[in-house]
């Protein structure tokens, strides 16, 4: 590459500065005049997208840390505090939680791109290995972040993943105890995970700097896989690459915003809205979608140490890719056989992801074994041999020749569709053999859905007159009843409701705690003092209902779970709740309900301790609505849906504004990009 212009400071201050700390010159040479191959396609924008996502995660993470409490007794509630009380807290948390998924999505695309175009080959081995290290750091950071909300999935992920180390011979158990800081996952574990979750992103930043540095030493690979040879093979980073990156980043943000504003819990698991319970493991535990392929590899091996070793090897083997692939030709464009095996490998990864979401039983295990075998064979057998026997196609003379001969990429769309499918695979399999609840019509469903105020008020009445005897609403305050987007009570009405409850007051002069009337700032008092009292009274601990709608769900099955992603249908928890409340029946002939339990069609396992709570005319409504059991069930479910997500209306409203902004901005950037690139496209 011929020398490009260096930075010439214009004014006296910049000259003075440049002689002492040439940072402006560094930025100029790295991000302005830095030559980038002119034939880069949109797959090359994911480096920039990843940098942006790292910044998003850092900024939202630092902000969330200002409100989060890393303590086993407070962590879950502090996350709900962020969702309910902190200004825009729901937005910050959903951006951070979905940001992790988007980060991994972008990282995987970035890696598959590197594999497809042979970006890891000489002289870019170190660049690639730094990328593998980044992936490892991301996996660790993501895992520890997932533990912090201290829900059921958090707790059991922490338990299962730390137990991986117990597979190590001799030292396994002491290592696990050391990781926990106790005899089980507990408060010390949560605290250290929080500390490390805050630390590791900065380590990632450091390795990203090395990654970019290495990139700028060896230069970018490109779809032709040949090095730039002449001036016309490259264009300046700014404006050409910057505007292209900016455009596609904005397109990527549209996808991101869709998740954040319309399906924020799509990629999560309802179980994580249940506070951590060390006594009960969720029936089907799966990691987040981005770990599923590795999880499938772990479970494919019927041996503890073997599974863990293979899981580790599946990542470590990536670091050896530059030497396992023996072909001198980089790009899959000129390697027809490799192209086939690349897509086979891609399919194996997606397949492993799907299997990771399925229960580890029967045919799934065998399929996982086949795909795991292929995963490793791809690296250890296919790639070394292909390089020797494959007949590659003739390479173009130069990047300029390559550009002028072919149009822009088209395989792109197939790849995108496949990846969307991969994202969609995250939903866990059905728990137990319960009936599927019917999909109901909810006023608050879909991108434009809103709560029906009258329905919420009726639902609140049902809660107070029926559910409240046994079920708490601990995360809700009386003031919430009057906040915008809720049941639409006036402040005076909410105050009156508060006054009907007794809450513990301040200790008086004699040190006695007397009950006082509730105030707006108070939370709904619990119906029982502690779990043991509840067990004695109700033969079980009635769950708190504050987030119950988000903590329940059911498997919608293929293809619905993919369609739900696009229609924004998130009301699985509401469907389940309404069905459960009216789903009581006589047990099928031949089955007997265990003492103190009742048969319900929709309850996983069918026998639950709660008797049918609702019946026709159980309560009277103040409006003309007929209080049938069905109606009561729907109304209280709608109320609880609001209680679980009190800022839903604000979320969808802001979402619409953000979507419109991003689409218009993406359009403007597209045309700007066309204008900028017009001058180089011709020659």
């Amino acid at each position: 590459m011929s020398g490009h212009p260096t930075y010439q400071p214009q004014n006296a201050f910049m000259k003075w500065m440049e002689a002492r700390l040439p940072i402006a010159g560094l930025i100029y040479s790295s991000f302005v005049v830095y030559p980038t191959p002119r034939n880069l396609n949109y797959w090359w924008t994911f480096g920039g997208i990843l940098t942006f996502m790292l910044a998003v995660q850092l900024v939202t993470g630092i902000v969330l840390a200002m409100h989060y409490t890393p303590h086993v007794d407070h962590a879950f509630n502090s996350v709900e505090h962020i969702m309910r009380d902190v200004n825009y807290g729901w937005l910050l948390r959903y951006v951070h939680a979905n940001g992790a998924s988007m980060f991994f999505l972008a990282a995987y695309i970035h890696m598959f791109r590197g594999m497809y175009y042979g970006s890891y080959k000489e002289p870019r081995e170190v660049l690639w290995i730094l990328g593998v290290i980044l992936l490892l750091l991301m996996i660790m950071t993501g895992f520890m972040g997932y533990v912090l909300p201290w829900g059921q999935m958090s707790f059991w992920a922490a338990t299962v993943i730390t137990n991986l180390f117990s597979a190590i011979p001799i030292f396994g158990d002491p290592i696990v105890t050391w990781l926990w800081g106790g005899y089980s996952v507990g408060n010390p574990t949560l605290n250290r995970f929080y500390s490390l979750h805050y630390l590791l992103p900065f380590v990632i930043v450091g390795v990203v700097v090395l990654h970019v540095w290495a990139l700028h030493v060896v230069g970018q690979n490109n779809p032709a896989g040949i090095e730039p040879r002449q001036e016309s093979d490259t264009v300046a980073f700014t404006p050409y690459a910057t505007i292209k990156d900016g455009f596609f980043l904005t397109v990527f943000l549209i996808l991101f915003a869709w998740f954040v504003f319309y399906v924020p819990n799509y990629l999560g698991h309802p179980d994580n809205y249940i506070p951590a319970n060390p006594a009960v493991t969720p029936t089907h535990i799966v990691p987040e979608w981005y770990y599923l392929p590795f999880y499938a590899i772990l479970r494919a091996v019927p041996n503890k140490l073997g599974g863990v070793a293979l899981l580790g090897a599946s990542i470590v083997i990536l670091a050896f890719l530059p030497w396992l692939d023996t072909s001198k030709v980089r790009s899959a464009r000129y390697r027809p056989r490799y192209r086939f095996f690349f897509w086979l490998f891609f399919a194996a990864c997606v397949g492993l992801g799907w299997l990771g979401s399925k229960p580890a039983e029967g045919v799934y295990v065998y399929a996982a074994r086949v795909l795991t075998t292929y995963y490793f064979a791809h690296f250890l057998v296919v790639l070394p041999l292909l390089g020797r026997y494959e007949r590659t196609l003739p390479l173009p003379n130069s990047i300029t020749d390559d550009v002028l001969k072919r149009g822009s990429a088209a395989a792109v769309i197939a790849f995108a569709v496949a990846l969307a499918g991969l994202v969609g695979l995250s939903s866990p399999a059905a728990a137990a053999e319960a009936d599927t609840p019917p999909k109901l019509r909810w006023s608050f469903a879909g991108p434009f859905g809103k709560f029906d105020r009258a329905q919420l008020q009726r639902g609140f009445k049902v809660y107070r007159e029926v559910c409240q005897t046994c079920h708490g609403l601990a995360l809700l305050s009386f003031r919430n009843l009057a906040q915008p987007g809720g049941p639409g009570f006036t402040t005076a009405q909410a105050q009156a409701v508060a006054g009907e409850y007794d809450v513990p007051g301040e200790p008086d002069d004699q040190g006695e705690v007397k009950e006082r009337k509730g105030r707006l700032a108070d939370r709904f008092p619990p119906p029982f003092k502690n779990d043991n009292q509840a067990r004695a009274r109700y033969n079980g601990v009635p769950p708190d209902l504050s987030v119950i709608i988000k903590a329940r769900g059911y498997e919608r099955g293929f293809p619905w779970f993919i369609l739900d992603l696009f229609t924004g249908y998130q009301e699985h928890g509401a469907d389940y709740m309404a069905a459960l409340l009216t789903g009581y029946a006589d047990p099928p002939a031949g089955t007997n309900a265990p003492p103190g339990t009742f048969y319900n069609k929709y309850f996983p396992g069918h026998f639950l301790a709660m008797p049918a709570p609702l019946s026709d005319n159980r309560i009277t409504y103040d409006d003309d609505t007929k209080p049938t059991a069905d109606q009561l069930a729907r109304d209280v479910t709608a109320f609880l849906a609001w209680a679980a997500e009190p800022h839903m209306e604000a979320r969808k409203r802001i979402g619409l504004q953000v979507m419109i902004f991003l689409i218009v901005f993406a359009g403007l950037l597209y045309f700007t990009k066309k204008k900028v690139w017009k001058s180089v496209e011709a020659h």
Binding site: V59, V63, M66, H67, H81, R84, D85, V86, N87, Y88, G89, L91, L92, G246, S477, R479, Q483, D509, R519, L520, A521, F661, V664, F665, L668, L669, F671, T672, K675
Partner: protein, 172 residues
Amino acid sequence: MSSTEHTRRDFLYIATASMGAVGAAAALVPLVAQMNPDASTIAAGAPIEVDLSPIAEGQVIKVFWRGKPIFINHRTKKQIEEAQNVNVATLPDPQPDSARVKPKRDQWQVLIGICTHLGCIPIAHQGPFNGYFCPCHGSVYDTSGRIRSGPAPTNLLLPPYEFVSDTRIRIG
């Protein structure tokens, strides 16, 4: 390149850049807003009621409102007189005692117990005027909570409050 094309291109660049700037600025809104008091903090800052009947003459009690210590001083006759018999013009922050209590409630002095210098909590019944003395940097207040000497710039602040009955006040 014709001049109209020039203008059109410039317009596109300016529109794109300004839209980007608007987006970046809008993204700052939640990041800044989250630092402000959250809904639960605001709700917890609602007015409180205090029963004055157990407070003996000469006693100062502290209650908390919005995380601030509120001093309620049940003043003795002597303290009231001392507070009233001062040449207001000679004070650093001139204010008559009558402006610092509710009418006909001379005996009840309600103050925000935070030194106006740098926020320490003054000690009651201390200092040359037997009012309040701030141990941090030596500000001296009288029984009316007025600054008499030391670095504090103004008198102790008064919280918003009112009497709901003879023996109850509502602060806030």
